[in-house]
Symmetry: D2
Subunit: 171 residues, 4 copies
């Protein structure tokens, strides 16, 4: 496969996104773009927007996959918008479309994306210190089958580097 790696960034929605997570997500997006990978997100606000913004500023290509049936719901930093019209079941679409996932904070919706990806052994990296699911899930397994351990990294740059290394070793 010669396609570019598709990195999904997930985490806090707009209403629950503290500044520290927003800034971290921006840095993740920037690094994704710098390293030539595609940035995928849920296309809305909070961490989704911040990562998209960073990737855009880094000259990358940004795809937002929104729950709505209307592309207008996406944040302004998306180069392409996938409108699923299927509500939060779109969490499966984001997860299945990822070659690797980086978690920045996050709540129940983030957990759904992580669990969907875990069932398919897609690499998952939590960005430590961003709160919510990222800090809850670091170094854990989602269930007793121990399909994969959720890794932790301390910086946006290292999170992206690890994601890309895992994608490469999976190829």
């Amino acid at each position: 496969m010669t396609r570019r790696a598709q990195i999904l960034v997930i985490g806090f929605a707009k209403e629950h996104c503290p500044e520290i997570a927003y800034k971290a997500a921006y840095e993740v997006g920037l690094e994704v773009a710098r390293r030539g990978a595609l940035l995928i997100s849920g296309g809305l606000g909070g961490v989704m927007e911040a990562a998209s913004h960073g990737a855009k500023d880094g000259g990358g290509f940004v795809i937002g996959i929104v729950p709505q049936d209307d592309k207008g719901a996406a944040n302004e930093f998306c180069d392409a918008v996938i409108a699923t019209g299927m509500g939060f079941a779109r969490d499966f679409v984001t997860a299945y479309s990822a070659d690797a996932i980086i978690i920045v904070g996050g709540g129940a919706g983030t957990m759904i994306e992580v669990a969907a990806a875990y069932q398919k052994a897609i690499p998952i990296i939590a960005l430590k210190g961003t709160g919510g699911m990222a800090d809850r899930l670091v170094d854990t397994y989602i269930d007793d089958r121990k399909v994969e351990r959720i890794l932790g990294e301390n910086t946006p740059q290292k999170a992206v580097e690890t994601a890309l290394a895992l994608i490469k070793s999976n190829a």
Copy 2:
């Protein structure tokens, strides 16, 4: 609303379902039927099958909501089969169709159904001692918003009783 309560039972799939969970799920299904509620499940094996079997033996009505596009995938105890054809995104359909949920063991898929229901504040009861997600999640919140605490009960009968009481108080 005069519809009968719809209780969703979730947990271990066939490949990971220990005997203790299978028996407990059967008892849950039996009690659901005895109390006149509808039994909803993911329609396949393991806990889904056991609960359906119990409800059937109790004279209840059983609806199985399967991931496949083929009703033939359902276990033999379903009175009606909903074939979604949407893979595990059907976890949202089972969750949204529940007036209350009872967890018997379970892994990542169970977590998805719980998190989807949590986002809508649908009551969730974990049956203690059945392992997996049931024991992991009892008395916890899925995320920092604390939308609802996942309750724990010690017996199938008590779990169903609590589910019905919560449904009644929501009505």
Copy 3:
């Protein structure tokens, strides 16, 4: 299989449902119930409501599969409500859940359900004289593969009888 036949009735939504189609759908639902089959519908207004009402009056069991993530969206004649939360993609869920389909009028949404069922060779019967898709599609094939011809019947009673005969011959 000893499950009861699942007959899906589709057609005009509330805003576009003329009286003649509403009455015909009611009669279809009544006949479905009288003959002991389960009535499945999209759970909302118009033909969906009319068929559900008929089946309820006939002592049948009615399942409504709604696009919303909220069971409260369903009409009052449903014994069970499946809330998909996936918008009109629920048209695949209704189609795949049918052992046979009866069309009463209908527009673009009806066409989607018909085309989804056609791809799986689920029997489809159009009730003649009810307008819309029912009269457009009678005696046609959806595409050049000619997977199945959409049959036409003149009365609600005959439509249900034919649906059940086709289900039986498929079993």
Copy 4:
């Protein structure tokens, strides 16, 4: 909005795709790329592959939205792959993600995408002479509401030109 236009090309799947439709779809994809729009497709074979190939040869960006939960199902010409895992319900995702649609032949699945887009008044252009749905649907309305007429064009170049003109007038 400053996003690039997203043009969806739909039609015959691999098993049913005559050479004339394959060539026409390639030309459509090529023209989409030349004019700077994004090419979206269902990501698989036949018309989907041909349009992707053309867009790739034209230096464009190609997004394939596949029914499978595995990105590996996509054809080799996709720059990005969205894996929905929801089977043919992905037809709603492709339709809702389109700013305009071009039909090249096609069968029942194509009809579903067209009907889903019609419900949202997304512009639809049929490429005449490519058989199947393209020739069946040209100059028709999907239902009696007459939401929009499906237009016909004689050449791939003209089809793309019309699609872009309609997108511009909608903006």
